[in-house]
């Protein structure tokens, strides 16, 4: 049980760290990808689906 917990802890830390880095790279204000720029008009595809 103890080792299981430690494993979960490290796996989670690794996973969350990886997600956070990906999100940082995608959404950093320095990333000037057009998709990262403020734009207008929202699409309600899901609302309509």
């Amino acid at each position: 049980m103890k080792t299981q917990n430690i494993k979960t802890f490290f796996l989670n830390a690794l996973l969350y760290g990886a997600i956070a880095i990906v999100l940082y790279l995608l959404y950093s204000p320095l990333n000037d990808d057009p998709a990262n720029k403020t734009s207008s008009s929202i699409q309600f595809v899901y609302q309509q689906f």
Binding site: L15, Y16, I19, V22, L23, L26, Y27, D33, A35, I42, F44, V45, Y46, Q47, Q48, F49
Partner: protein, 387 residues
């Protein structure tokens, strides 16, 4: 601010979850619904755009459900449905009034209207004339539960109420951890995978290009993007819901592995598939089956019902050619599959694949289904230059 539109939403949700969990220690179990009511209303009032519209829609639907089913006792469900859907139909048909030069859209449309309408009709259809109207807090929560407010899943009233009754006792470790994991999964799907697909695949090819390679790329990219984006939303809603003590139905289970249209709608946007099946397909097919004149043509009435159901789904998205066509296409897939199944039953053998290895049949089915769905979604997206 709309739900899930920026990271601040998650901060607000974290505050809400912590506050609801804290209430568990001070407030009796049976009063969970009032706590939920408070936070749902708080979200609508403070964060949501056009809260008044939403409150009015809830009041409108509650009043008319009561009037039609309890007071007037209207037998024909269709009349009630039309009355309850009136706000949404006005918006979808873009009806204008002369005294106000804007489209009705401006006055009536607000985020979440379609999903609220699904739930309103669901409640009305499930309610028996002998049942009394449910209490207002539960009804309000059912329509305005924050995580599912904007993009579903479409819960069923009975399931929602059962879950609400055990609200506080569901806030525990056994629910929190799966909830948290679902939220993480949703975040990966929506904010990492879907965003990567959108930036580096979907938006690379010009949607108006008619070159086969570009169209194929657009088609697959859109389908895969749509799945990750939409499934991401659904998992996040499920996760946040669980952490608040509510069970939100699962909306996606590997649609890419679907072997036939029926299987697909049990994996992709499950709650919509169930809704259409229960409140549209079943009554419609029942109507046809009860007709003596159609007795001899079971296959015809099944296929017509399927086509109508999915075309309605297309219309629901909006009265535009691409939506209706994609709905019709989904209907066609289901009708063809239904005919095939009926033939197999009649002949007692598989009329297409014969005695082929079941694993191979499954593989081929998955491949065909994946491509058919991708085509229909491509048309749905409005990015197809041929439509």
């Amino acid at each position: 601010m709309l739900p899930f539109s920026s990271y601040e939403f998650f901060i607000i949700m974290a505050i809400f979850i912590a506050a609801i969990a804290a209430c568990k220690f001070f407030i009796a179990d049976k009063n969970y619904k009032y706590v939920l009511l408070f936070f749902n209303a708080l979200f609508l009032v403070t964060v949501y755009p056009k809260p008044l519209h939403f409150f009015l829609l809830i009041a409108y639907s509650y009043f008319f459900t009561w009037l039609i089913s309890d007071v007037l006792k209207v037998q024909k469900k269709i009349i009630g449905i039309l009355v309850l859907l009136l706000p949404m139909l006005l918006v979808k048909f873009d009806i204008r009034f002369d005294f106000y030069p804007f489209e009705m859209n401006n006055l009536l449309s607000f985020a979440g209207l379609s999903y609220a309408s699904f739930r309103i009709v669901g409640y009305y259809m499930d309610k028996s004339p002998n049942d009394r109207m449910t209490d207002i807090p539960t009804y309000f929560n059912f329509l305005s539960f924050t995580p599912t407010l904007l993009i579903g899943p479409i819960d069923k009233f009975a399931r929602f109420r059962t879950s609400q009754n055990t609200g506080f006792s569901s806030i525990n470790e056994a629910n929190f951890i799966p909830g948290w994991n679902a939220l993480v999964k949703g975040i990966i799907f929506k904010y990492a995978i879907a965003e990567l697909i959108s930036r580096y695949w979907l938006n690379v090819f010009d949607p108006s290009s008619r070159e086969a390679l570009h169209m194929l790329n657009n088609m697959y990219a859109y389908y895969i993007y749509l799945f990750f984006d939409f499934a991401g939303y659904s998992w996040m809603a499920l996760g946040i819901g669980k952490m608040m003590g509510m069970q939100v139905p699962v909306n996606f289970t590997n649609p890419f592995l679907a072997v036939n249209p029926q299987d697909f709608w049990r994996r992709f946007h499950i709650s919509l598939g169930d809704w259409l099946k229960e409140y549209f397909f079943t009554p419609l097919y029942m109507f046809f089956t009860r007709k003596k004149s159609l007795k001899k043509y079971p296959l015809t009435r099944q296929n017509i019902s399927l086509l109508l159901t999915f075309t309605l789904m297309g219309c629901w998205n909006g009265f535009k050619l691409n939506y209706i066509l994609s709905g019709f296409l989904f209907g066609l897939y289901s009708a063809v599959h239904n005919t095939y199944v009926a033939e197999c039953k009649k002949k007692g053998k598989d009329v297409v694949f014969g005695n082929m290895n079941p694993a191979a049949v499954k593989f081929i089915s998955i491949f065909i289904m994946f491509n058919l769905v991708a085509v229909a979604m491509y048309i749905f997206s409005g990015r197809c230059p041929l439509v």
